[in-house]
Every structure is written in structure tokens, then in C-alpha cells.
């Protein structure tokens, strides 16, 4: 397979594809191509020789109908013209070791403003981890299930893959998503405000299958899930009916193996519950009869109320929607615009999304893109003509329990502004007369 070798050569450059300009990429393709078969080379030469002699040569070289394309590649890449990236990340200081200047917050945000449909490409799924992404050899990885059960079992990843599989689409949203909303962040993008939610197809084995395997006892009402990263992240999961119906141990994401940032080789999926409890790099499930009260459900991920008390085990992500375009920092022109956005609810299906272009005075129903699935991002669309007047764009959703997404005012009235997590208020984008879009707190 000499060709495979050549293709690898091109592929090895893809590691820094991010910084490559399209011209460079063409250069790489050309080199790959030159190294290719002689007949293809003859074809390419023929194209150049017999081309229209009067046309500008540079244009010809760029005419995709006149230049043979690239060869198949073992692992696909997006077009070099596409530049969409996650935002944030650990920052440059992360490269300088783990001293006192190492970052506190490891996260990166999904570019919701430029995505289509409801699936988040795995490469753009938001990240949140608490001491870096571990490098795990799946052949050495084990899942231990033990505690209040008849027996303790160890599973290899291969063994879990042999068990009856299930798959579903589900969003995962960090409960800190939109937390700037509490403190009114100024002039930011939808990626900044809402980029900690992503949606994938997940494949794995049902948690209940494993609980049957170990013979979980009836008193087993809580389960500790533990990751094998450097934070040893551990969370208590209440084994309610909802959880038992939905919970999965996943190895697949959008058709391929989980990405390392998403827990490779195994993660827990608890559809509709806050991101942090969907423990990644899962190595252990321990059954117990009470919550384990880890740091992640006491000091963190608890919602401080104005009276000084905090909500604990506030796990479900309540219904939320946001217009992804037009959105913060975008510049629009007068004329037709399709207002687009996403809505989701951790309690089930989204049943309705309404859009307002006048700051919430009047509302009109938006069109929901099928399929509309429970605990899954739902795409909505709304046609709009902009004539250059000032406008305030908002969306609000309703889920199948009848819950209506609140305004910021309603939310803050009950929870104050100290709770950090679970901000799900209606988002407002103001379109200024010059077409500049800015986030405001209406």
C-alpha cells in the first residue's frame, strides 16, 4: 500500500491544518498528487496543455473543472476554507506546565452561531475538564461496578461493546452555561454566552444492563460514578426511574469512538442532567444507599440563593432556547433573514418555540425542524425582514411538562444573582440601526 504511505504524508500535515492557508493546502495536495500514479499525472498535464490559451492562467489553475482533484484520504478533513473553531480553551499559559499559573478553568465553547442542524461535530463539542484530558489506552481501561450488589464485576471496553447496545441523540449542557447572564456580561457572542451545550448521537450499553449483571440490591438508591482523569472526578447519581430508563455507559459519539475530550474510551450519559454528572473517562460505579457528598455536589455545582441557602442535586437542565443567528457581534444587512436558533429541555421534548422581534411585546410561533426528540437540541427557524429599524430579538420555549422558559427578571427575582449555575433565561439580542447585533439584558 504505497499510496497509503503518501496519503499519510499529507495527513501528517493536517495536524497543523488549523494554521494552514488554502494555498498551502493546495500545495500539499499537489505534492501528494505529483507523487501519485503516472496516468493521473498525464491527465493533469493534458488538462494544462489543452486548456483555453486565452484565459488567465491563474484562473485556470483554480478552476476545479480543469484540475484533477485529490485522492481519497484515510481520515477526512473539512475544507481548508472552513475556519470554525471552539473558543476559549485553557489559554496559552496551559502550555507552560502545571505550576501556580496553570489555568483554573479548562473549557472550550461550541461555535453555535455557525452550526447547522442539531448535531454538534465531535471536533466542536464543548469541553470542560478539571485537570486536563487524560491519555487512555482502551486495551488497559476497565470499568468496575461494585457496592450494594450481589457481586462486583470488571468489564473491559471490548466486553461492554459486546453487550446489547442502545443509541440516542442527547444534548449535554454544562450547568455553568450562560453563567455570565447572572452578572450581565457585555458585548459577547452566542458562543461566549451559550457555547457550553452540544448535541450528539451517543451509543453504548444501558446502565440498567450492568446493574442487572451485578445484581444491584434494592437499597441501592445512589451510585457513585468516578472518572480516571487527574481530577478523579466523582459524582453521586440518584437512581430514580428517569435515570434508570435513560442512563447509558457510552463508547460511541456520532458514529465513531468517543473523542478523548468527551471521555474516551467510556463515559456516563445521563440525558437531561447537568454536564458535570455525565462522568467522563469512567472507571468505577459504586452502588450505595445515600449520596456520597463529593466536592462536586457540595462546594461546586450547588446554587446559592439570596437567603444564603443553596440548592443541592439540582441536576436537571431546565428548558432553554437561544437565537444563534443573528446573534452577538454579528453585522447584518437590511433585507431577508432567517432567524435561527436552538431549544432544548432536560425534562423531555420541546413543544413550542416563539420568537419576538420587539423585545417581548409580541410573539410568533417558530417552525421546529424535525426530528424533535426528548432531551435533545431542537432547531427552530423564523423568517424575518429587517428594514433597518432597531429591533430586539428573543426566543422562548415551552417543553412537554408545560414549563415555560422564564425572563431574566423572573429568574433573578427567585434566585438572585449569586447562584452561578443553571441560568436559562430568555436571551435578548439588540439589532442596532447600523446592523450591529449586541447582547442586552431586557
Amino acid at each position: 500500500m504505497s499510496e497509503g504511505g503518501r496519503i499519510d504524508q499529507a495527513g501528517s500535515v493536517s495536524g497543523r491544518r488549523e494554521e494552514m492557508r488554502p494555498e498551502e493546502w493546495q500545495e500539499v495536495n499537489r505534492r501528494t498528487f505529483l507523487a501519485g500514479s503516472a496516468s493521473l499525472m498525464a491527465l493533469g498535464a493534458a488538462g494544462l496543455v489543452f486548456g483555453n490559451a486565452n484565459a488567465d492562467e491563474a484562473d485556470q489553475a483554480r478552476d476545479p473543472m480543469r484540475v484533477p482533484g485529490t485522492l481519497p484520504r484515510p481520515y477526512g478533513e473539512r475544507s481548508p476554507f472552513e475556519k470554525l473553531t471552539r473558543l476559549g480553551g485553557a489559554g496559552p499559559e496551559a502550555l507552560h506546565g502545571w505550576g501556580a499559573n496553570a489555568p483554573n478553568n479548562f473549557n472550550s465553547l461550541t461555535p453555535l452561531q455557525d452550526l447547522h442542524g442539531i448535531i454538534t461535530p465531535a471536533s466542536l463539542h464543548f469541553e470542560r475538564h478539571h485537570n486536563g484530558v487524560p491519555a487512555i489506552d482502551p486495551a488497559r481501561h476497565r470499568l468496575l461496578v461494585h457496592g450494594l450488589a450481589e457481586r462486583s464485576l470488571l468489564f473491559t471496553v471490548e466486553e461492554l461493546k459486546r453487550l446489547p447496545a442502545v443509541a440516542r441523540l442527547a444534548f449535554i449542557e454544562c450547568s455553568g452555561n450562560t453563567w455570565d447572564g447572572w452578572r450581565e456580561a457585555q458585548d459577547v457572542t452566542v458562543q461566549d454566552t451559550h457555547g457550553l451545550t452540544s448535541n450528539s448521537e451517543w451509543t453504548g450499553v444501558k446502565l440498567s444492563t450492568l446493574l442487572k449483571a451485578v445484581g444491584a440490591r434494592r437499597e441501592a438508591t445512589w451510585m457513585l460514578a468516578e472518572g480516571s482523569d487527574a481530577s478523579g472526578l466523582n459524582r453521586s447519581v440518584p437512581l430514580t426511574n428517569d435515570v434508570l430508563n435513560d442512563a447509558m455507559i457510552c463508547y460511541g459519539q456520532n458514529g465513531e469512538a468517543l473523542r478523548p475530550e468527551q471521555g474516551y474510551p467510556l463515559r456516563l450519559l445521563l440525558p437531561g442532567l447537568e454536564g458535570n454528572i455525565n462522568v467522563k473517562w469512567l472507571r468505577r460505579l459504586k452502588l450505595g444507599s445515600a449520596p456520597f457528598m463529593t466536592r462536586w455536589e457540595t462546594a461546586k455545582y450547588t446554587d446559592l440563593m439570596p437567603d444564603g441557602k443553596a440548592y443541592q442535586f439540582s441536576l436537571v437542565m431546565e428548558a432553554k432556547s437561544v437565537i444563534t443567528s443573528p446573534s452577538g457581534q454579528q453585522q447584518i444587512q437590511p433585507g431577508f433573514h432567517e432567524i435561527r436558533g436552538l431549544a432544548w429541555s432536560g425534562r423531555g421534548r420541546v413543544t413550542k418555540v416563539e420568537v419576538s422581534v420587539d423585545g417581548g411585546h409580541t410573539w410568533q410561533g417558530a417552525q421546529l425542524q424535525e426530528p424533535v426528540l426528548p432531551k435533545c437540541h431542537t432547531r427552530f427557524r423564523f423568517p424575518w425582514q429587517w428594514h433597518g429599524q432597531e429591533a430586539i430579538l428573543q426566543s422562548r420555549c415551552v417543553d412537554e411538562t408545560g414549563y415555560i422558559q422564564p425572563t431574566r427578571q423572573e429568574l433573578v427575582k427567585v434566585r438572585g444573582t449569586n447562584s452561578l449555575y443553571h441560568y436559562n433565561a430568555i436571551q435578548s439580542w439588540r439589532v442596532e440601526r447600523d446592523g450591529r447585533v449586541r447582547n442586552i439584558y431586557a
Binding site: N234, K309, V316
Partner: protein
């Protein structure tokens, strides 16, 4: 945790009803008991919802009835269809973990103290461990940073600028052992001995004014330490915000 208890309770109730149904199947008692029970099935959720709002005693009585029905079924010799009903054992996938394997991984510590290893630590030693291995990131006295502030902040939770620390916010002292043991120091997790963890926990509790300088901490006494914000948490009451 009353909310979860209630939901656990409904789960058990539903289960015991299904169980009674299953155990009656094919027996002479089926028509007598199973059909009325089955006809109720669509209404179980409704019944459970009604029960949920009733006093505990009534809920207990109902589940007791279910239970005695179940007992009767067992007494009559029908097999228990528990978790093993569709036993994954038949796939023969996964292998039993050895005691040593479980012990190596079973590092979590519960509020009851379960999981705390033998060993002990005094405030004084803790001060040394802290200065050598923690102060660079958390500051000489635990208040300066640059990373998470570990000390102080009491009586700030109701102010516009709440300071959440071990002393002002953490409800359980056992969580400190669990977290430091598994995740700190940040640049060398799981590198401390049990005595080092106990002692640095002791120092942090002392810095926060929770224990005196001469206290020695071990598995027996750590769970009993009363944290200032022990009663600062309520179970998720959401949905709490009425939309329009």
C-alpha cells in the same frame, strides 16, 4: 433528602406491584388478584402521585400492603423476578473483581467516614505539608490565591459578593479528605500519604476556626466534625420560577 426518598419509594412501589403481577402469572390466583391489579396499572402513576402528597404513614401502609401481597406470593412458591429476570449473567460478560482490585480503586470517602484509611494528622504537621505542597497555589494562609481560596468567607453567603470556602460553604469535613486525597496537589494528584492528607485537612480546618490547634484527626473523629454550613443546603426544589 425527602424528595428522593419519595421518588425511591414510588419506584419500589411500582416494582413491587409489577413483581406481584409477575409472580401470580399462570397460577390459579391469577384471575382473582392479577386482573384487578393489572386494570389498575394505567392508574399507578396517578395513584403514586396522590400518595406522594399523603402523610408518610399512609404511604408506608400502602407499600406494606403491597409487600404482604408479595410475601404471600413467595410463600405460595413462585420465584422472585428481581434484577436477575433478564440476567446478563447469561451473556457471561465481565469478570468478578478480586478484593485487591476493588481495594485499589475504592478510594471514596463518605460523610459516615466509610472509606477513611488508618492514619492520623495534627495541625502542626499539616502546616508543614501545606507550606511545602499547597501554598504556592493557594497562598501562605489559604486566602491569597492565585487558585481557589480555602479559608475565611464566613457570613458572606447572603451578601452580593459571597466567598465560598471550606469554612463558609463546605457541609462535610469528610469531603475534604476525599477531594485532597484524589485531586491535590493539582500538579501531583494522589501523591500524598494518608498521614499527610489527615494533617493538611487538620490545618485547613484549624485555619477556618473549626478545630483547635491541638486537635489530631483520624478516621474516627473526622466524620463527627460539625462544619459551619452543614445545614446550608436544600434539595433541588425546581421548577421554582413560574414562566408566563
Amino acid at each position: 433528602m425527602e424528595g428522593y426518598e419519595t421518588s425511591m419509594h414510588s419506584r419500589m412501589l411500582k416494582k413491587s406491584a409489577s413483581f406481584v403481577l409477575a409472580s401470580l402469572r399462570g397460577s390459579t390466583y391469577e384471575t382473582k388478584y392479577a386482573s384487578p391489579l393489572r386494570s389498575l396499572r394505567p392508574r399507578w402513576t396517578a395513584i403514586l402521585n396522590i400518595l406522594r402528597d399523603r402523610p408518610m404513614s399512609l404511604r408506608a401502609a400502602t407499600s406494606l400492603n403491597m409487600l404482604s401481597l408479595g410475601m404471600a406470593a413467595i410463600a405460595l412458591g413462585w420465584v422472585l423476578p428481581g434484577w436477575s429476570a433478564e440476567d446478563i449473567g447469561s451473556y457471561e460478560i465481565g469478570r468478578p473483581a478480586t478484593e485487591a482490585e476493588i481495594k485499589a480503586w475504592n478510594i471514596d470517602v463518605s460523610p459516615s467516614g466509610e472509606g477513611l484509611p488508618p492514619g492520623q494528622g495534627a495541625v502542626k504537621q499539616g502546616m508543614q505539608v501545606y507550606a511545602a505542597k499547597c501554598a504556592a497555589c493557594h497562598g501562605p494562609t489559604g486566602t491569597e490565591g492565585p487558585k481557589d481560596r480555602l479559608v475565611g468567607g464566613q457570613h458572606t453567603l447572603q451578601t452580593p459578593k459571597p466567598v465560598r470556602t471550606i469554612g463558609s460553604y463546605w457541609p462535610y469535613a469528610t469531603t475534604l479528605y476525599d477531594y485532597i486525597n484524589r485531586a491535590m496537589p493539582f500538579n501531583a494528584p494522589q501523591s500524598l500519604t494518608p498521614d499527610e492528607v489527615y494533617s493538611v485537612v487538620a490545618w485547613l480546618l484549624h485555619q477556618n476556626g473549626i478545630i483547635s490547634e491541638d486537635t489530631v484527626i483520624d478516621a474516627r473523629m473526622l466524620p463527627g466534625i460539625q462544619m459551619p454550613n452543614r445545614n446550608g443546603f436544600i434539595l433541588d426544589p425546581r421548577p421554582d420560577v413560574p414562566g408566563k
